[in-house]
Symmetry: C2
Subunit: 305 residues, 2 copies
DNA sequence: TCGGTCCATGCCGACACGGCATGACCGCAC
DNA sequence: GTGCGGTCATGCCGTGTCGGCATGGACCGA
């Protein structure tokens, strides 16, 4: 029945050409080994070893087993190792959803780190709307989400990944760009300014946080709702008719004529990885660990000075 | 421990996606199957199947096992089958020694039949002297011998393979060729004729049988001893100075000017396969069987009319 | 001839395996 | 909602396998 063990036993004897030494190598007693090999021979119906009291030699059938047996054991080992890979998080697949806002730097960096630290884990990442990400993770169709201002929702586990400094995107011609452009912009200056934001429904936490920043500075901007599409909606900003607020990573790839001015005093938005509470697979645990390492190495969690 | 069995069990469940049906297929009870799969999961440290009371689905790790597992089982099966091949005589190797006298037809035919009937058996055949063949088989360095007039020796098992009709090789110019050449030669006519034979030491049985044939016919030939080399020693025969006696198969490839004239009344010499008594391997048994079939098909055992 | 070495065998305890009975859970129908 | 059928898990027990120990038996070399 236990074919592979017996094969291992036989191979030890055939290699050592000696039952006693093979038994020591296998950490079993010699009689047990003797009987197991005999049993293997009985099952196969072939004499595998020609034994005299002082010599053990493989027969032809034994030689065949000696040649081809190790490959079988290796194949088995390889298979067990492969399966175990799923247990220790070195193998697996993860579906990740991230918002446009994380697409410029955070998500790519995380994916890069994963491909280096855990090449066995296949991460399929897609840009999705905030609502779809939250719903997907909650429903289990998505393993991990990467979002700004994650909702403090039951069942969802939030892992703070980054504190992203916020800033204003303004046209070079806009009044706010004229002031202390180098030093940044005080939210108080946003009073009455046309501010381009996603609809509150899209990500209430983020909307509220932005508005809260303004309110705390005593400013009441005039909100213009923009569609979900990002780049195309820059136009009101580009024309100087409005401004918008994005994270620091949004400054890369800005169209010519637009400036990113940090809010002063420094204001940050939290970027979280969200996962479903219990039953996280080893692969997901691994991703969270890689994410934490990446955040530390990149200084993502240090508040701006 | 019994990894392959558990793998088989798992595969059955994963394929059926149902423990109960898989258990039936495996001819074990469902609880036993359930526990074995659980045990496999515990050993591998991975959940292989995600079970709800009404659905069984492989996890990622389970899918991997489902993909690669069958190949492992096949490899194991193939190995067992291969080894068993040595038991049923479909695989093996045999060393065969045969005398020059069998080299013209008997041995080639036998080897041909073996390559067709038992291609898995590697027969390494060599021409050897009678003495070496007998000694080799007796000592176990040779598996099978193919000889004329095998010695009735203890430990050697003789298997009659062929009754070979004997005849005279004479020069076309020799007086014996002049008589009733078409009808054959009576041994009585050998009285006083120079007869080329191997030394008696070489194969006493054969020597004695030839002399016995002559003696029974009242003839006393004059024996010339020839060396072991066959072809080169035809010369005394070719020159017409002597004659020799060989089997019917010796007539093929006769040098021009030489005739093979059957002895009349028909006289045969026994050609045997010799093997060592006990412990014959299945491959050798197989060869003996193929040899018997060949002898029957070729009519080797029918006495000449 | 004697001791050493090596494999085989007898006996026994531990444990793994499978069967049976039963429990727990889910989906479906009424 | 309640009951029923289907499905997988668990508890318990008998049996067979495995390994250990002690010992036997064969062969080799001194």
């Amino acid at each position: 029945m236990s074919e592979l063990r017996r094969l291992r036993y036989f191979l030890a004897v055939a290699e050592e050409r000696n039952f006693t030494r093979a038994a020591e190598r296998l950490h079993i007693a010699q009689p047990a080994l003797s009987r197991q090999v005999r049993e293997l021979e009985r099952e196969l119906g072939v004499e595998l070893l020609s034994r005299t009291t002082h010599k053990v030699e493989p027969t032809e059938a034994g030689l065949m087993l000696l040649e081809r047996g190790p490959a079988l054991l290796d194949a088995a080992d390889s298979l067990w190792r492969g399966v175990r890979g799923f247990a220790d998080g070195s193998l697996g697949s993860i579906s990740l959803g991230y918002g446009m806002s994380a697409g410029y730097e955070t998500a790519p960096q995380l994916l890069l780190a994963m491909s280096e630290e855990a090449p066995g884990i296949e991460v399929s990442a897609r840009v999705m709307s905030f609502a779809d990400i939250v719903a997907g993770v909650a429903a289990g169709t998505l393993d991990v989400g990467l979002v700004r201002c994650a909702p403090p929702q039951q069942e969802l586990v939030l892992t703070l990944l980054r504190l992203e400094r916020q800033g204003l995107i303004v046209s070079r011609d806009h009044p706010l760009a004229q002031g202390g452009a180098a030093g940044g912009v005080d939210p108080a200056e946003l009073d009455g300014v046309k501010l381009l934001l996603h609809a509150r429904d899209h990500n209430p936490g983020h909307y509220d946080q932005i508005m809260d920043i303004c309110a705390k500075a005593g400013a009441k901007p005039e909100v213009l709702v923009r569609g979900l599409d990002f780049d195309a909606s820059y136009t009101p900003v580009a024309s100087g008719a409005a401004v918008t607020i994005v994270g620091e990573t949004g400054r890369v790839g800005l169209p010519a004529g637009l400036l990113w001015l940090p809010l002063v005093p420094a204001t940050t938005v939290e970027v979280h990885l969200i996962t479903r509470g219990p039953n996280r697979s080893p692969a997901i645990e691994r991703l969270l660990k890689v994410a934490a390492d990446t955040a530390r190495q990149q200084g993502w969690l240090q508040p701006p000075v």
